[in-house]
């Protein structure tokens, strides 16, 4: 089969990353997509039928591209990732072609060394002098593993005995990622083991609220063991105050995990690194290179500041895989994690890093933050919109104001209800148009607001203006 034919539309997609006229998404429902694929002779459904020839497969690839969300478009602001680096895409392709597992050095010698190189440099950027770690399938797993290491530190018997119902308590902020809530359930600690601590107006945990929460927990006779500090919250881009949290963690013997899935890449930028001050004192760190750095899904590093805890937590020593009498077995990573086979995610990170250099990563961060600051200033001076929170990191949250309410004098319950109900209709209108894409959500119980996330280095100031105009037009359409 002529592979070039199948690869061509993919390369065309990558080459056309900054084509602003291309449609980002549409609102088509399942039936529309299904009919379209069926019309091309490649129905989405599967069954005992015939295999397809190259021409049909190529049509399927082209339809998949045309009907999928164009996340590399400069006006895609919908998620905490955007603007995939084509080098990372090719790294993923190379990893797939070499199709192996990271579990052993024997099966992945080069990738094992690349993973160690990437992790070593990330740890150095965090100011750590010793570390262990590996790539995991997303920041949710980093957070899960951090909780497991912390649990086993205070209750090593849990490995053999299981959780015994002791009231272990973990702390995170109300703006933290929801994976923490999922993790305490999966770990058998239970949802009640997670206390959510109040934030300031920028989504940053209040240290005095954490101190009070820990004291209250102790007063209830519980055992605080873990605090998650978020570096770059999903919605507001808030960075929890790491030095104050580290002080509290130290005082109470808590494991300090920094969920820097979104924000740890600030460490690449001389101007932004101060946001991460204090990370050198963390016990563990989640750092997703697939968010700010444009490495493709998924590329999530999990780092632990000391060595030994990962193996103690996860080792099972399967004798068909991990044999101490095999050469270089000390490089095997499989017993450091829950997974058996693991994708070679480090490869694409390494290749992208070599291609862009740390200066390139820094420029990407600086560009994104500058655009966010520009957008926030732009929105603050525009009566069509009202900022929902002070800008932070690369996140700008704001409301579109219906014309008859401009300029908005004050939010009332009636105004809030109107704004809240409008958001999904505006979003639907935007998806029908397909020229820009951003998300919406409520913040702290307020009405739905829109959120611009600046990540793609191809995004320019004109894209902000264009997107705001599109949003205004979609607002009017939603009102009509």
């Amino acid at each position: 089969m002529d592979l070039d034919e199948l690869v061509r539309p993919i390369l065309d997609l990558l080459r056309g990353a900054d084509e602003r006229h291309a449609r980002i998404a549409d609102l088509a429902g399942p039936d529309v997509h299904e009919a379209a694929f069926a019309g091309l002779g490649v129905p989405l459904s599967l069954g005992p039928g015939e295999s397809l020839d190259l021409a049909a497969l190529t049509r399927a690839v082209e339809a998949t591209i045309a009907r999928s969300v164009r996340t590399l478009h400069p006006r895609f602001f919908n998620q905490n990732f955007a603007g995939a680096d084509p080098i990372a895409v090719i790294g993923d392709f190379l990893g797939a072609a070499l199709n192996t597992t990271m579990a052993t050095y024997e099966a992945a010698p080069v990738f094992t060394l690349m993973e160690r190189a990437v992790l070593a440099r990330l740890a150095a950027l965090a100011g750590w002098t010793a570390h262990e770690g590996l790539f995991v399938p997303g920041g949710s797993f980093s957070n899960l593993y951090a909780l497991q290491l912390a649990r086993l530190r205070v209750d090593p018997e849990a490995r053999e005995r299981g959780h015994d119902g002791a009231p272990l308590v973990a702390f995170t902020s109300t703006h933290a990622h929801y994976s923490l809530k999922k993790a305490v359930v999966l770990l058998g600690l239970g949802r009640r083991a997670l206390v959510e601590v109040a934030c300031d107006e920028r989504g940053r945990m209040r240290p005095e609220a954490l101190a009070a929460a820990v004291d209250a927990s102790l007063a209830r006779g519980e055992r605080p063991f873990f605090v998650n500090a978020t570096a770059g919250t999903t919605v507001l881009g808030g960075f929890d105050p790491l030095p104050a949290l580290a002080d509290l963690a130290e005082r109470h013997g808590l494991w300090l995990h920094v969920d820097g899935s979104f924000g740890a890449s600030a460490l690449f930028s001389a101007a932004q690194a101060r946001r991460m001050d204090g990370v050198a004192r963390a016990d563990s760190l989640a750092w997703n290179l697939h968010k700010m750095l444009g490495v493709t899904q998924q590329c999530a590093a999990f780092l632990v500041r000391k060595t030994g805890a990962l193996r103690a937590a996860f080792a099972a020593g399967a004798d068909y895989l991990f044999q101490p009498d095999k050469p270089h077995a000390e490089y095997d990573s499989g017993d450091l994690t829950f997974q058996c086979a693991r994708r070679v995610d480090a490869l694409k990170a390494w290749l992208t890093w070599k291609a862009r250099g740390e200066a390139g990563f820094a420029a990407r961060i600086d560009h994104a933050v500058a655009l966010a600051e520009h957008a926030a200033a732009r929105i603050a001076g525009d009566p069509r919109f009202v900022l929902a929170a002070p800008p932070s990191w690369v996140n700008v949250c704001f409301w579109w104001i219906p014309p008859d309410l401009r300029p908005l004098a004050a939010r009332t319950p009636e105004v809030d209800a109107a704004l809240h109900a409008l958001a999904p209709r505006i979003k639907a209108a935007m998806l029908r148009g397909g020229a820009a894409m951003l998300g919406f959500q409520p913040i702290d119980g307020g009405p739905n607001c829109f959120r611009l996330l600046f990540i793609n280095p191809a995004t320019r100031r004109e894209d902000i203006d264009a997107t705001l105009d599109i949003l205004d037009a979609c607002g009017r359409e939603a009102l009509a």
Copy 2:
């Protein structure tokens, strides 16, 4: 940057999949690889240095290919995957280029439909009339999630309260995948919550041993809640007797999970499907398309026979992602799993399925089983080797016998010790040569034996003869 230049060596690799003269692997240590990359001007280490130009990046891609394990080689028998289908590799490439997440229909409309199509057909092949499911990052997670669903079925309060130390007990066989051992620890049930049940000489759980183990557990006042049946064990390829296990599960109210990560693909083959008889009665099923079907790492389906349990176990309802007022939100899969962002693994499965058809998948399975049967017969008639177990599925386990012990009359402790110590030395010699690659491991406390795994459709009978000759030569080298 000229992407074609970077893609060329990857396409060359895929086109040369059946080049038998290519080196599969070598024994080089980290220092050798590091020196080689450094010599090309692309050191593996990372730091604040310069970015590389296209020529240097291309050299890095070429060196990565040359120095990695060639898992698509017809004589790569080292893992429970082999012979990646180039269509799946391109599916992975396409997924990376479109770089999105499966969490919401909005972000992944086509992939959501493809995932549903793949899962629906897998469930139909299993004989299920209702199902839910999704792709997860490996069979270990399928097994973990099955345990979590089962735990919440008998103890729904655990979601809020956590595990309370109640003696919940899960059962699996001594030949089952080691992820079960890891899973009970991660879930806070503890290692002691997993009872390993004896197998027959083909690595199949003995139902009478399970019955006795459950009775013993009940007699100890414990609460049996889960049994894992393995369909295709890692080392011997054993299929647990599903009908007998389903009877026992029904009698005792146990959740029956079938870990078909390796073996469920037997359902594609009319000749092999009988191995899976009884799967229609399972509560959940792990099925890795990245093993027997040549879809690239990772492509692991997790299926549950009824609907509702996944959402009940995992939903967190993050309001920035999952909004019931968004169009088509009922198609969102994010609240069905622990992960937030999820790779579009279904795409490559779907594309490969369309390209090969179910007849192609069946042919792949039948070819692999036929080769294994041929190899076992070949080995049984060759005084240089002794089968370590009756052949099953695509696995053939055997010892190389040193010339002065041929024909082997009987295994004695001295013979066993010699065979055990020889295996790693033979393997090292084989890696130095790089013309074939297979693994070794002990079985049930016996001496290390070699294991051929037939998966790659490009493997031919001549490859078996060649590999056995290589093994014999490496044995002599190891003795010398």
